[in-house]
């Protein structure tokens, strides 16, 4: 199986078309930005947004707090990243898929995309 590059793949460029992140009711300093694959938008709207937190877990929890239905598309019921989803922090592949402990800085960009694996259910 082809391993994922540690760098964000070129398909992430399409995510940028979602435009500037939404700064909902927040007037503080910079916050991490969370962007999602375009493919997920067909099922549940996941606009690019900022979300507070210093770990991936905290950032995603804050994002999903305002978009609860999207949580189950990315994480399973035990809070793990779904088998065929991947997360990048500033282009680096997230390694801790279970507890989501990878650190996130205030200027980070988190990208959530689908892995190349896992699409076989609709082949």
């Amino acid at each position: 199986m082809k391993a994922f590059s540690a760098q964000a793949p070129s398909c992430l460029k399409s995510i940028e078309s979602f435009g500037s992140p939404v700064y909902a009711a927040y007037s503080g300093g910079p916050l991490p930005t969370v962007r999602f694959t375009q493919n997920i938008q067909r099922h549940v709207a996941c606009p690019t947004r900022v979300a507070q937190g210093t770990t991936l877990r905290a950032v995603l929890d804050n994002y999903f707090h305002a978009n609860e239905r999207a949580r189950g598309y990315v994480l399973d019921e035990q809070g793990k990243i779904r088998q065929h989803m991947v997360a990048f922090i500033d282009g680096e592949l997230v390694r801790d898929r279970e507890t989501l402990s990878d650190p996130v800085s205030e200027n980070s960009t988190v990208d959530i995309i689908q892995a190349l694996s896992g699409g076989s259910t609709s082949l």
Partner: protein
């Protein structure tokens, strides 16, 4: 008499309607997406469609307007493991079962006297119950916490699963389930307690000492006669079994031509002695014998079988019919079969003859009459 059926496929959910002269596809929903199961609740007309999105997980949709719109509803979710609990690795795989939904494999409405109750069987082996037509779900803990549950084995998939749920039409507290691989389980108190049955079932893929262990029986499909709920039929991994005592004991039915291997079984809703099967050659050769699609019917409780083939392809046909790929309507006259090759056939005379509805659909997982 049913005039509509729903066909869940790897690339969408299709509606088939009886026109003036023939059956034809009339509508497609979720086109391109993997619809693994469908169910219509006869009590209120709710339609359910279970999805496997691969990347994004398992989802469930419900339509209350006859299939025009399909809002997403909640899926069954497994609770967190109790603190200190260490799941037992299965000896086949060396891995413990994850407490996470892998597939919705069985859906069944509750009894006529319990509106809103829907049962859901899943991989990796959890049975869930909704009391609000799928708005929320709760794991049945007495079954999930049963010590024998952790010994359920994987099947063709990685995880054990509950695919058949039979609610007794005369007593909704009496629910029987088929597990692959984990045999037959019964509750008579609405799920508060469960007993494993299966005396007489034989698993030829196990050593002689374990062959009759009820917990290793690979039940492919379990059905219950509506008019006579003490009669059950099972298409098993290595044969056909029938019970006439509420699934307590089972008789193996042998020497059925062309084969006893298959996945699907349907029982006549009014006559417990009539049942249909769609045989495949054998476990390691899952296609029709000699390339000929046939349906086997017994009308005498399994003493004899007729091999029905009129209208079905009789050369170079390699259709496999999965466990939910056969259904019978409430009259017992109309049958529908859907195959992995994307064929759908319907009979209006109890299987004597068949008409082809399509040979071009995506692989079919589930067919259900409205």
């Amino acid at each position: 008499m049913s005039k509509r059926c729903y066909v869940a496929t790897r690339k969408g959910l299709f509606t088939i309607d009886r026109g003036a002269s023939k059956w034809a596809i009339s509508h497609g929903a979720f086109v391109g997406d993997n619809v693994t199961l469908t169910m219509r609740d006869p009590r209120n007309g709710d339609l359910f469609a279970a999805m496997n999105h691969g990347h994004f997980g398992i989802k469930l949709h419900r339509s209350r307007d006859g299939g025009e719109t399909w809002p997403e509803i909640s899926v069954p979710t497994y609770p967190a493991m109790p603190e200190g609990y260490v799941p037992k690795p299965h000896p086949f795989t060396g891995k413990a079962i994850e407490w996470a939904l892998k597939l919705i494999w069985g859906l069944a409405p509750g009894g006529a006297d319990e509106p809103g109750v829907v049962w859901c069987g899943t991989m990796p082996g959890g049975l869930f119950k909704s009391t609000d037509s799928g708005e929320s779900w709760e794991l049945n803990r007495p079954l999930w916490d049963h010590p024998k549950r952790e010994d359920w084995g994987p099947n063709g998939a990685e995880h054990p699963g509950i695919h058949s749920i039979c609610v007794d039409p005369k007593d909704a507290r009496h629910v029987s389930i088929g597990v692959s691989t984990g045999g037959v389980w019964i509750t008579r108190d609405g799920g508060k307690s469960w007993q494993q049955t299966g005396k007489g079932m034989r698993a030829e893929y196990f050593p002689p000492e374990q062959m009759y262990d009820p917990n290793v029986q690979d039940v492919h499909c379990l059905v219950q006669c509506k008019a006579n709920p003490e009669t059950f039929w099972v298409q098993h991994h290595n044969g056909i079994f029938r019970s006439v005592d509420g699934a307590a004991t089972w008789a193996e039915i042998e020497n059925v031509k062309p084969s006893v291997f298959g996945f699907a079984v349907a029982v006549h809703p009014k006559n417990p002695d009539i049942a249909w099967f769609v045989p495949s050659t054998k476990d390691e050769k899952r296609c029709p014998t000699d390339g000929r699609v046939v349906v086997n019917r017994t009308s005498d409780g399994g003493k004899s079988f007729e091999t029905l083939r009129r209208g079905l392809p009789q050369e170079w046909a390699y259709d496999l019919v999965y466990r939910h790929g056969l259904d019978v309507d409430e009259t017992g006259d109309r049958l529908v079969v859907g195959s992995t090759t994307g064929s759908v056939w319907i009979s209006e005379d109890g299987g004597d003859s068949w008409q082809t509805v399509s040979t071009n659909l995506p692989p079919v997982y589930s067919v259900r009459f409205a």
